[in-house]
Symmetry: C2
Subunit: 362 residues, 2 copies
């Protein structure tokens, strides 16, 4: 285990001072340095395999070159989230181009304040992106006053923090209107998460708005709360079915949860969309691969990540972004799960394309 190579070693080998090394390697051109000297330094650095110590650099420059992605959810829910990789992919890509690092953190609801304080005050990171924030997050106020840039992935009306999100309300309204246009009048709703998560509330509001515009009365008995994972979707649909409520369609505010609902519907012997049409949300890659393919609202996960990062870098540079929040477009993607209206229990009327049905009509 040889001794660590420091900038002093590079300086010695190159026959210059440590300061010169620093100037060369950090491209500081305020003090002009002779090209040949610079070359000598670079050569020495390469020759020795010199890599500046990250901690020392961070301490001296007050920049960790790390940004944090904080997820307000327990690991259990993280483990089964098919949407997360999209965010990560987008973020990792953007970050690397900036030669920064990504620190991943999670916070259990209730521990937010302490975690945020630790993260910002201890200066582990230069900036943070907060995934799936909750309306009741007691730590957000602290972040507003923290001396560190913050971007929310999700919109919190009462907060002054910058944010990136899709228009959940409008998107949900479009999705539900789609069902209404198909002739459905009794439409159930399963949320994507508990209501303190802003996206859940907003999507539920979109559902209500669509009903209202169509003159359909909102019936709380047709609404269930799910909780990110498939199992919760299964339970929610089961609960709806067992309640005896009549409905010909369901808006599920998360594809993952919707697949749980699929399972419950199948188990009950109900056809999709013949007996119950289903519209999901997120358009996870699998949506077009399950059977029947799932109508969904496409959410540009990678773009959300990239935009969040753009906003964050803007804040980290000290610039004031154009606007407090960025809203990205969504797109409803109609697929088989909401193809046409079917009456409950009706059989043999739903014409799927032959090649698709062949797989099951055996």
């Amino acid at each position: 285990m040889s001794r660590r190579v420091t900038s002093q070693d590079v300086a010695d080998l190159a026959g210059v001072s440590r300061t010169t090394v620093s100037f060369v390697l950090n491209n500081v051109n305020r003090f002009s340095i002779r090209p040949e000297t610079a070359e000598k330094v670079r050569l020495a650095a390469q020759q020795l395999g010199y890599y500046p110590n990250a901690s020392a650099k961070a301490l001296a420059s007050n920049q960790t070159k790390n940004i944090g992605l904080i997820i307000t959810r327990a690991p259990h829910y993280i483990a089964s989230d098919p949407f997360l990789p999209q965010i990560l992919g987008g973020l990792l890509d953007a970050i690397k181009q900036n030669s920064q690092g990504l620190l991943l953190e999670w916070v259990e609801p209730g521990q937010q304040l302490q975690t945020y304080l630790e993260l910002t005050r201890a200066h582990h990171i230069d900036g943070m992106i907060l995934m799936t924030p909750r309306l009741d997050d007691p730590g957000l106020r602290a972040l507003e006053e923290a001396d560190i840039p913050v971007v929310l992935m999700g919109y919190i009306p009462w907060s002054s923090l910058h944010s990136v999100d899709v228009d959940n309300l409008a998107a949900a309204e479009t999705a539900v209107s789609h069902l209404i246009d198909l002739g459905h009048r009794s439409i159930a709703c399963i949320t994507n998460a508990a209501l303190p998560y802003t996206s859940a509330t907003q999507r539920l509001d979109g559902y209500r708005l669509a009903l209202q515009k169509a003159g359909i009365a909102f019936d709380p008995k047709l609404v269930r709360e799910a909780d990110f994972d498939i199992q919760s979707g299964y339970r929610a649909m089961k609960s709806l079915l067992e309640s005896g409520q009549e409905f010909t369609a369901v808006f599920v505010a998360s594809d993952n949860v919707a697949l749980g609902a699929y399972s419950a519907l199948r188990e009950a012997g109900l056809s999709i969309p013949g007996d119950v049409a289903v519209v999901g949300f997120d358009d996870i890659p699998l949506a077009s691969f399950v059977s029947p393919t799932l109508t969904s609202v496409a959410v540009p996960g990678q773009e959300i990540a990239v935009e969040s990062y753009k906003l964050l870098t803007c804040l980290m540079r000290g610039d004031l972004p154009e606007s407090r929040s960025v809203t990205l477009p969504t797109r409803l993607i109609p697929r088989e799960s909401s193809r046409e209206i079917g009456r409950r229990g009706k059989r043999g009327a739903d014409k799927k394309s032959a090649k698709l049905a062949s797989c099951f009509n055996d």
Copy 2:
């Protein structure tokens, strides 16, 4: 923007020296400190909202308290990996209990050496876990000599690095044997990734071994390489079908890829498992929710993560682990996609349970 709170501030407020503060807050009991003094310090720290600066701490103690998870794949592939969250969930959980941080990194194949050197020499992290290593990774040698603990998620025979993995070969053999036991003799194979990824090779070897034991000749024309994502599975199956080769079953070494294969099979008007039985690998949460439910080899993702972390902490402590590599058990979970043998093109013979079929026989 108030000045940062340092340990000196705490010392001043408590009326002691900075050293005492450090001793108290780090529980150094080599020098005994009067309890009331300690209490005074703790109170002052809390009162001021003191959080030790991470960089300074790292620099002084030579410990970053961060571990790195390195993924040898481009962001595009990360974005569509449904298995990743399980690893992350497990890792995040374990790490938090140790109050460490997780730094996420990716490396494009070809850039490994440079990335590893930067990561270890610059000492961004105290230890690293390498996901999906490649047999042809030119950076592994460097890691063997690096002064930083490394654990591979995946087994590389020629490397002396510690590793955690499942027995891919045996698991694949079991999966394929399962198909053979069901009466299949013409079994295709789609790998989970390109062959330089060790798991791909090992699973393919398991496939070959099962065939061999059953006295079935290996036919390279029945093998296709996929590449992590769904699309590649779709393409691979399409290619198999178009090749005109006869087969009644397919072993797909990744559930994600298998779902792509599902799609291609459906599009070709073939029933699962009636015309082609399918066995996947990984047992992602969705496996039991797609239709038909997917027979798969359950890989304990979270356990892999936890065991990797355990091994890593062991190495970071400087202890010598019991063994160089940990092998975790897998379990074949038979589901509908491999229920019984069907002859190709045969229709109407495959009896699914009524309640499941009802959904599609409308």
